[in-house]
């Protein structure tokens, strides 16, 4: 390019794209008319950048952050619900045995009359009632820890954010 020739519109575009040749760049550095023509296009672009960002910052500021609480992958949610279901099953097996410390004849008779027992009787007669309660509490706390460790946000499971997750609210068994 002849250094006395002014830049074409395409070359000014290339400058704005960051793709101007070294020779044309050298011309631009020393040519006020070309710099003015560049500014005529560059200035509206700069204004657009500033005004559109002011617009989006203002709009973004009105949006709550917590809407973006991450959703757990499906397999993780399945795991959590699976673990919860397993915990419920274990509790369903263990709790009835607390109310039936030994498989007495009466209990067996009741079981025979009662419709469809939900779980087999577990042999816990040799464990004291207090010890069994302590073990159950330990188990529930372990389940809580597991659930808390695997769920970073209650909102991820679609639970209310204010009310804490169910895992947090689960109290230890008293009796």
């Amino acid at each position: 390019m002849n250094s006395t020739m002014h830049l074409t519109d395409d070359q000014i575009d290339e400058y704005l794209m960051g793709d101007l040749s070294a020779e044309a760049t050298a011309h631009l550095d020393a040519c006020n008319p070309c710099l003015t023509r560049v500014a005529e296009v560059e200035q509206p672009l700069a204004s657009f950048r500033a005004v559109s960002l002011a617009w989006s910052e203002r709009r973004s500021a009105t949006l709550p952050l917590q809407e973006f609480a991450p959703v757990r992958p499906r397999w993780t949610r399945r795991f959590v619900w699976g673990a919860t279901a397993a915990a419920a099953l274990v509790i369903g097996i263990v709790v009835p045995t607390l109310h039936a410390p030994a498989a007495t004849e009466t209990n067996v008779a009741v079981a025979a009359v009662a419709p469809a027992p939900v779980a087999p009787v577990v042999q816990v007669a040799h464990i004291s009632r207090e010890e069994q309660i302590a073990r159950d509490n330990q188990m529930l706390q372990a389940i809580d820890r597991e659930l808390n460790a695997s769920v970073e946000s209650p909102a991820a499971l679609g639970l209310p954010v204010d009310g804490r997750s169910r895992g947090h609210n689960r109290s230890t068994m008293q009796d």
């Binding site: 575009d13 704005l16 794209m17 005529e40 296009v41 204004s47 617009w55």
Partner: protein, 200 residues
């Protein structure tokens, strides 16, 4: 079929080369949203012309980014990476609503008229802010005349400050095609600026 294509596009944006994460920036979703939402919202809003829909797409973008953060390889800026994810979502939207862009979205169109008043007042005079508003309106009007690809490429270059190679990679086009689109976009901007200058 469409889902498969989308998954491929997402994979291209998120599953590329060996993960070499540049830090824990992506692990803090609140900070990520705070730092990048305005720019992403701008990119999406000015790409599709509907600010309400743009908010929803921007939210989806952060969810996708969060779920795919382990695949961020760190060879581009987080903003470029997020813009690439947003681009795929914008394209999905364009496929769904092929002919409902800009003109049809006017009911909820972006209004930059008062946005200039939110520019930092300490940095410019009231006259400069009025001029900035007028110029931004000219560029916005020019954007309306562009094709979706031209508009997207224009925004990537002049709003997101991506270079030609980054744009070409994100939009899966040769650099020369990107340049052609930018030439056309700048021609439109130049024409609107000239028309506004003649009207004064």
């Amino acid at each position: 079929m469409q889902l498969a294509l989308d998954a491929t596009l997402d994979a291209k944006m998120t599953n590329v080369q060996a993960p070499a994460r540049s830090g824990s920036e992506l692990d803090d979703i609140d900070a990520l949203v705070r730092n990048y939402r305005p720019r992403l919202l701008r990119f999406v809003a000015f790409s599709i012309g509907d600010p309400d829909l743009a908010e929803s797409i921007t939210q989806d973008c952060f969810l996708k980014a969060w779920n795919g953060r382990a695949n961020f390889r760190g060879d581009c800026s987080v903003n470029t990476w997020l813009t690439g994810i947003a681009l795929n979502l914008v394209r999905d939207q364009q496929r769904l609503q092929k002919f409902r862009f800009w003109r049809q979205a006017r009911a909820t169109a972006i209004d930059v008229t008062d946005a200039a008043t939110f520019l930092a007042s300490g940095e410019s005079s009231p006259e400069a802010r009025i001029l900035a508003r007028e110029q931004a309106e000219q560029v916005t009007a020019a954007l309306e005349t562009l094709s979706p690809n031209q508009r997207t490429i224009f925004l990537m270059r002049f709003a997101e400050d991506m270079n030609l190679a980054e744009i070409a990679e994100a939009i899966h086009m040769p650099i020369n095609t990107v340049k052609t689109h930018l030439h056309r976009a700048l021609k439109a901007v130049r024409a609107y600026a000239a028309a506004a200058g003649a009207a004064r």
